[in-house]
């Protein structure tokens, strides 16, 4: 899929007599690749014009294929020792990639905001030590270069799901992108954010459902697994699920991980911490090493019941 849409003429002299969305859409249609379906607003993401499922290759791990992918690690990268230990443990239990935040979006300016570039270096060392590809979040346009030079898969978090300048910038980086659904994004808006990535030239987009905001208070968010089924039907993109943020509670992660597999997800994103009660962030939703092992054990028969298999460990080869 090689698409080169002309960039929107922001700042040009332009034609101020253009009026209304219809005119805009007509104007853009000329730029759309021949043969693409146009009945959906997310025309590049849509399955209509692209019936075959896209498989995104993340450093040798195929996401969106018949092989199921599991990404695990701490919410936030802490010490080097901890991240290396965590990488080893989750790899041993069957994880295929390592997650960990170096730049953290926090509600409070007084909360720990992550170790930044030092966190990226620690992630790189954990990769060297285990071969696990690394997933980490990009928060700011200014960090795109350093994050892209470390990450195998760049995460755009829920708070930035509609941060269009960041979407455009990460698209240009060329790296695969894990796009989380915003906590109040409709499915259509989420797919339109994916469309930003696709239309700016990056076909390697993985969607991630992580719960939406509802009135329920027993869970941190309301994990919307219907969105997985919708996204798989409407688009050709891989879809993974984050039951850690989706529920916010450790003891709900395993059942919702199983449910995500059965809903048709292509992978999982799981928070794991050596000592959740001492985690610098999101401890309440992090699994212990032992619980993660149990999660892998419990999803395996469901993955098989879905006619799929877990990605074999031999495909893990990052920097090894």
């Amino acid at each position: 899929m090689t698409i080169t849409l002309k960039k929107q003429a922001t700042g040009s002299a332009g034609n101020p007599s253009l009026s209304g969305e219809d005119a805009e859409v007509l104007a853009v249609l000329e730029e759309v690749p021949r043969g693409a379906a146009v009945s959906k607003p997310y025309r590049l993401a849509s399955r209509e014009g692209h019936p075959r499922s896209t498989v995104v290759n993340v450093a040798g791990i195929p996401v969106g294929s018949a092989l199921f992918t599991v990404i695990a690690g701490p919410c936030c990268v802490e010490g080097e020792e901890e991240i290396v230990e965590t990488a080893r443990s989750v790899k041993q239990s069957g994880a295929h990639m390592l997650r960990g935040g170096a730049f953290k979006p926090r509600t409070s300016p007084y909360s720990f905001q992550g170790w930044g570039n030092e966190g990226l270096r620690r992630l790189a060392r954990a990769r060297e030590s285990t071969g696990l590809p690394v997933v980490t979040e990009l928060l700011s346009v200014g960090d795109v270069e350093s994050v892209a030079s470390c990450a195998d898969l760049i995460q755009i978090g829920a708070r930035n799901a509609q941060n269009t300048p960041l979407l455009c910038e990460v698209a240009r980086s060329g790296k695969p992108v894990l796009l989380k659904r915003g906590m109040s994004c409709t499915i259509e808006e989420w797919l339109m954010s994916a469309e930003y990535l696709l239309s700016h030239g990056n076909p390697n987009v993985i969607l991630c459902e992580r719960g939406i905001r509802s009135f329920e208070t027993m869970t941190r968010n309301t994990l919307d697994l219907s969105a997985v089924a919708v996204a798989k039907q409407e688009t050709h993109l891989p879809v993974v699920v984050d039951p850690s943020h989706g529920t916010g509670k450790r003891n709900l992660v395993i059942p919702m991980a199983r449910a995500a597999v059965a809903a048709g997800a292509d992978g999982l994103l799981i928070e794991v911490h050596p000592d959740p009660d001492r985690a610098l962030s999101d401890g309440a939703q992090s699994l212990t090493f032992e619980m993660f092992r149990k999660l892998m054990e419990e999803i395996t028969p469901i993955v098989e019941a879905m006619g799929r298999g877990l990605t074999p460990a031999r495909l893990i080869q990052c920097g090894v």
Copy 2:
């Protein structure tokens, strides 16, 4: 479990100097069964004081056991021929009970409100013809006798989830009750409604998650499968899931049925219609006979992966 709480002294001379919820709670504690846990507001529903899972016997079908239960049928009972035909078809595909509304709660006074008692008679004939126990909704205190005389399991719908006089009345009927979560009920409020049933002497309560209201518009409701995991952990009651109302779209029912099984549900409630496009209500979310057959086929390996089995057909024996 034989609990007889004294009824609240509504209308009695009472003590007007009582002040605040604390006083109320203290007052009621005296009436709580000895040994019951009290750290949860839903003290009878809570697993704390009742660690063993309750199995509700619905005319021979055990709901909440290791055996998985499937309830299927039209939203609304239409002609006698249609309901008998539907009952036969869903039984053949593996369903264990027949659902069908005789009294329908409709948003508009101008929409079809169900065939009422004639609908109940048609359900009874479908039961005679197939042996399937019958699930039907009770809308009004005035109909409790006629509904209880027909139904094997009485449904309290989402709109009536906090209709406390109806809850008290249906509890007194002695029939097993399927309690749907209200569309804006928190999990705790839903469990408190179950507590109304339990505290009014009816231990045969089955919880039903059917989607909550959110901002998402691509689905009719947002099916909250986390609520299944929470309800299974917090209470000893069986939990079933209605992915038909939960999604409102036929092509999402099968994936969400699979996900419900994997989340730990004890059963499913599925809308099936001989000709969904001509259904008097909820056609968009009803499966055809063929799709229902496919649903049973797709959930079977997930049920097994969960270490359970489908309830065997030989237990179906209603009126046969």
Copy 3:
């Protein structure tokens, strides 16, 4: 407005070949009064076919006119002395009707459920003593006679906004009805509930916005004042606002009461208690007598800025 729709043929032999909502609507259209507009689903409530605003006469108090109405009183009727004292105080501060619950819908079966018929008798005594018409909630079809014999205006609460049998029954009582919006009802669904009342022969319907459920936790509900503006534009019915339930916090009631007036509401429903911290329910949102006096003082200039006046005290004449 004298409308007599034939009752829906629930339970009749009917025509099972009817298919879909279209057929239903066509069938009902024959029963709609000549000349009524039909472009809205709430055809009797709609302003289209009834451009003049309806004024509902509640025991001499005109609701929906240029005169603004204030209803005040405790959430729950407690002792006779308290309710009489409250009635006198709110009347002195300028209230036009007395509210108070005798039958209370409570989330927990262990919470105080109201004094029932004894509560109604206490309300009647407060009316005798002050001349204030009485507003009280009807929870159950079984209580319609006793509530209708006491109340001047019957309240249908948020939890029963879509309890259609109760709507039909209260419509038949002939008494004016205060219809609260359900906590997850869209504006259209709320208007359809009003349509149940109108189409079952009761033209005396007052709409009441009381907050909807959202993710916000600093307020008990999210008071949706846009719904007031929509309801005033879309329908000919009076609209009042309940900022007590709408916010759940005493210190937000006065600003939201002012805002409700400015949004175009025809009246207010305010919880007032002689000693809120000792109230049997909803103390946190109840005003003291002094705060209610201040509320009246603060809304007066806004009522005047809207080109209206407060209903004069001389119209209060109930049983006097």
Copy 4:
């Protein structure tokens, strides 16, 4: 208020043995200004430690004083002629500032994204021609210099309400900031975003309520006026309301503008367009010049009923 918090040590060698939020909070407390209240997480925004209301001076217009402020203009700056014409018209009707977007966040990559820097130049010309200070949105860290050099008040839009790098950057620009509430931000999260601005050295923060996401579909968002009352009580910051985005419908803007004034808002943000049906964005919610004149006429008596006055035109002096 001159606060210089040390920046969070992102990327520093740091202390990886820190564990949990408590440790973080303790660490930061040392950096908090002496005497500030700490019982609220938004300690600098809180009224507790800063009882006097902050008045933000925007090019001579005092926002948050007894004088009420009205900001008006198109969603999106279009041609130079249109923006100058609009500025003149809204000034004549009584507006105190001109709004207009040069950089537009759009759900679809195929929608018009604004004229960018050329849009800023057109805004500057409208300011020269009328003296109205200019409010425009900053979308990207990369544009902070050009936006800050044009705008008198920089808007952070709802989609960026938790874009923390952008908040930090705009804080450093030194310009007053209009901070919109995110569409799924709780009030507390919104105040925490304000805290980012304050703790990064910018005391000139104006809060803007613009509607939250709910299940209601008749309005684009649900305008939460309770949030105005809460924010005025909890913080010392000015609060303005945007009923245009809050409702999404032209005919609801005037009633909700009145309600916002009565709820205690310090100002309004109103979309006005010379020909709304031909607007490049948000036409459905834009007022005509004539409707805006009527809005000013209708809010005037409410402003006075609140014991305030409209800011006098003689204070408008930008570049004149």
